[in-house]
Amino acid sequence: MRARAAALLLCAAVAGLVWLALTSSHLDAGPAALVVSAVAAAVATVLIAFQPLLAVLARSRPAAFRGHLALGLAALVLVLVHVAALWLLSPEDVLFAISPDGPTRARMAVLATVALVIVVVLGIVRRWSSYAPQATRILHAFFGSLTLLLGVGHAVLTDGALDGPGTAALLLLAALGVAGIAAAQTTHLGSSAPSSAPGEVDDPVG
């Protein structure tokens, strides 16, 4: 029941944020690449914000864990689509944005993307290896938090499709994500016995 409610909430959040983006004046008569870029970024933000919630649900439901994995990878792909669409719009502006001279919002985006890649790599390591399970879980959540906060910060500082009500929606998503990360860590600490035995494997999610 909780999983179904979470799925419905996720779909509603994706639809709501995409609707806000598509109805913004910023995209009026904008080129297709700009629309694709904005929509990809909006969906990626929702997916990243919901990941901790899925991680909490995954502790009792394998399907939620598969969703956590799939949506995490989807978020990474969508971020790459966002950047690729911007590249189609103006390669020079992309290169400037990611350079050391780029604006603060672009630096936040670069750091968020690097953190997201680390999150995915740590997720894969946790899935396929038993090496330092607690450390990888903590780092996975830590870099996930960075991804969320820097990504939302980037979106809030950007004049674009998610101004006005979109900004409020972004801040709500950030609050949901941070609460989810806290819940995931609390759930984990409350349900697993502390141990430092070599080779111990935690449960696959956290």
């Binding site: 910023h26 103006s90 400037f96 944005a97 604006p103 672009a106 450390a135 674009g160």
Partner: protein
Amino acid sequence: MNRTRMIVLVGFMVLVVAGVGVALFASDLSGTGAQNVGSRPGNATAAPAEGCPATRSNPGGDNNYIPDAPPGEDLGDGFVIQGVVRQAGDCRPLPDVRIQVWLATRTGGESDNRTSVRTDAQGRYRVETAPTVAQFGEPNIHVGYDDDAYEAVFIRNVVDLDDTAATIDLNLRPR
């Protein structure tokens, strides 16, 4: 996890957060060297700096630059880009100097909205365009000089979405 590992882990995370903080703190809000030059009608124009130091190109200044923007192109109305072009060092106004302007507006991107104008006898130039829109997260205005008499200059400055004018003065150094 034993205590030593936990300390190392926490130390690593603190270092990462500190690194992110430094990286953000060290950045310019609109990019290195970009100034907010937006204004509303009636705002006073700043006097030139003493000695009129040569204007230097800033990073991103030549983004989407296409040489030889067509003269007198109709870019719409509702927003004015203006400025005075002087000779660096002696502040002498430079007449009949070709200035190129390009920006994103509702009618098109930076590659589409471009024009060139010549300065008048007092070194002034003026371009009227449709209001700016955000390009890569912020409304940018590019102004450039790329002819033979003076050193080339490419400027990228920013305005706010509700501004209706921008002033960008240039001090050119002879080649």
